[in-house]
């Protein structure tokens, strides 16, 4: 049994496998299928200062080896989260982390401040990369200046581990990563979804109500892996890699490319037990290669 534990800033994780926001509900949705305490962390659904109804149906279209979504951050708001969801998840024996989103800097700050007060939420993931909302979201994450402004503002009120989730819909993701590092982020997670589109040729209409949406699934993995590799060369803070991971081999690829930890997203929909299988697979891989600790593998490309 190798040492699977890793640290992201002050955040201690029993292993590097986490589940991605928007794909794992609040964790409880998966409790029938797996032991939630077996994974390193859970990022719950994107949370905003006020409730959001999200976008109109249809919000999803399957594409070859992937899917497009345009959920649009549907959630009941941070107060509902604190009063009705947090009590049910706070004792789950893993890192329960909140993905924080918003339309304005003030929204992000207010939301982060409220979550800062919750004892059993050791980290937030600042979502400056959601492609499915008209205001905020990705608009902040596509310029180094915008990204830095929001991180600086949140850093003032948030004193636990601050992870910033980056958008791949940029010319150079390393510029954004550097900007948020300088602004005080403890880690970056990448990638969020790639902006995409699909059309129903018979009806001559887009398949999503919003026309465009976020592409995820195995089809995005090579892009995500490349961006993790580039970002690892550009920043010193830890990277959480995600994008199309479906098995332990994919996870090890991300770690070799420079990710300290990984998130599993879309594939939770296909195999609700995949995150546990990836933990086991990484462990067996390390034992087989006689590697003592998973952290030795980070960026260890030959």
């Amino acid at each position: 049994m190798a040492n699977l534990s890793i640290n992201i800033g002050a955040l201690k994780c029993k292993n590097p496998v986490m589940t991605a926001s928007g794909t794992f509900g609040y964790g409880l949705e998966y409790a029938d299928f797996m032991d939630l305490s077996k994974i390193g962390g859970i990022f719950v659904k994107g949370t905003t200062i006020t409730p959001r109804e999200g976008n109109d149906y249809p919000r999803m279209a399957e594409t070859p080896s992937g899917m497009l979504n345009a959920v649009g951050l549907q959630n009941k708001g941070v107060d509902y989260f604190i009063n009705y969801i947090y009590p049910d998840i706070k004792d789950i024996d893993t890192n329960m982390m909140v993905n924080v989103s918003g339309s304005t800097i003030e929204d992000y700050v207010a939301c982060a401040e409220k979550i800062n007060a919750l004892d059993n939420i050791p980290a937030i993931e600042l979502n400056i990369s959601c492609p499915n909302v008209k205001q905020g979201g990705m608009a902040f994450g596509t310029s180094p200046h915008g990204a830095a402004e929001i991180v600086k503002a949140v850093r003032k009120v948030y004193n636990k581990t601050l992870i910033v989730k980056l958008s791949p819909n940029v010319t150079d993701i390393t510029e954004i990563a550097r900007a948020v590092e300088t602004a005080g982020a403890d880690a970056v997670s990448l990638i969020n979804t790639l902006l995409g589109m699909a059309i129903d040729v018979e009806r001559r209409t887009p398949l999503l109500s919003t026309v465009t949406g976020g592409l995820s699934g195995p089809c995005v993995k090579p892009v995500a892996l490349r961006m993790v590799y580039q970002t690892h060369k550009a920043v010193k803070i830890p990277i959480i890699g995600l994008g199309g991971i479906t098995n332990w081999q994919d996870a090890v690829e991300f770690i070799l490319a420079g990710a300290t930890a990984i998130q599993i997203g879309t594939y939770n929909f296909i195999d609700p037990t995949i995150s546990v299988k990836v933990v086991e697979g990484i462990n067996e891989y390390l034992d087989r290669h006689k590697i003592q600790s998973v952290s030795e593998l980070v960026g260890a490309l030959g």
Binding site: G22, T23, G25, Y57, R59, M60, M67, T266, D271
Partner: protein, 297 residues
């Protein structure tokens, strides 16, 4: 409790050009599965088909540990399912969603004891199960359970042609079956909402009494009103039935089949607008009372 397990294909029969009946067996006791629930099937040997396919429970055989699924061949995933051979393995997440409301006791004629909720309409009355195309799938298991509870389900099944009417002999085991086809190749020509039994019931519900010389639907010693409608099929059909139900103040449940990814309430893709906001069809449904929906009917 939801489960994930490998099932074995025990039968795969092509019913028509567009449909197959897939039977799968679990090597274990089945958990309780209620009519209206669905399962999520991982399509084997189809690496480009990413998502599981949500399929309604057509029938449950607890004795043989079998689940029957009526699969409509829509795209690459369902085509693969139609090609599965007996003995092949199929990974399934089950059972998912909420089922139809089952009245606990049969309706007694002449307005006796009121049926337990949700049947808030008058005492007596038939339970009408209306299905269109693949939407007839959940009604077989529902009809079986209703019959076991002592009801006499009345099925009204519609399809484009006779080839789109499925499993009629099975439905006949559990109740009276009426059909419509758009081309008149079976039953009455037209849509289910044009069928004479609906008009007859409408007339009798207005008069509050059984009319004489009624068609077969009302023959025999049976109540002349509808106590509850259950409907599953294409959305325009369900909306037309919902409109009929609303006009005649008949409680009505519909089963929706919005496109979904996870099936367990995590992705928030399959939402339907309800009186309490956007709600996941996979966890709050797929069965809804029409009063919960915001359909303009």
């Amino acid at each position: 409790m939801k489960h994930i397990a490998d099932w074995t294909v025990s039968e795969n029969k092509r019913l028509s050009a567009d449909f197959c009946l897939l039977k799968v067996r679990l090597n274990d006791e089945l958990p309780e599965i209620v009519p209206g629930q669905f399962v999520q099937i991982l399509v084997p040997n189809a690496p480009n088909t990413l998502l599981r396919r949500p399929i309604s429970v057509h029938f449950v055989d607890y004795d043989t540990h079998e689940l029957w699924l009526l699969v409509q061949l829509v795209g690459a995933g369902t085509k693969k399912l139609s090609e599965l051979k007996v003995g092949e393995q199929l990974n399934i997440v089950f059972p998912l969603g909420n089922g139809f409301s089952l009245p606990s006791a049969p309706s007694s004629r002449g307005g006796g004891e009121a049926i337990t909720p949700p049947l808030e309409a008058g005492g007596g009355g038939r339970l009408l199960l209306i299905g269109g195309g693949a939407g007839t799938a959940p009604l077989l298991y529902l009809g079986k359970q209703l019959k076991e509870l002592g009801h006499q389900p009345l099925f009204l099944l519609g399809g484009r042609t006779v080839n789109h009417l499925l499993q009629l002999a099975e439905f006949e085991k559990y109740g009276e079956v009426h059909t419509t086809t758009e081309d008149g190749s079976h039953g009455e020509k037209g849509f289910v909402t044009n069928h004479t039994i609906l008009q007859t019931f409408a007339i009798s519900s207005q008069r509050g009494v059984m009319s004489t010389g009624t068609p077969a639907a009302c023959s025999g010693d049976t109540p002349s009103t509808i106590a509850q409608i259950y409907v599953c099929g294409p959305k325009p059909m369900m909306q037309a039935v919902a409109k009929y139900a609303k006009q005649h103040t008949i409680p009505c449940e519909v089963s929706l089949e919005n496109k979904m990814a996870c099936g367990i309430g995590a992705c928030l893709c399959c939402v339907e607008k309800t009186t309490y906001g956007n709600i996941c069809v996979c966890t709050a449904g797929p069965v809804f009372n029409i009063n919960q929906l915001t359909w303009q009917i």
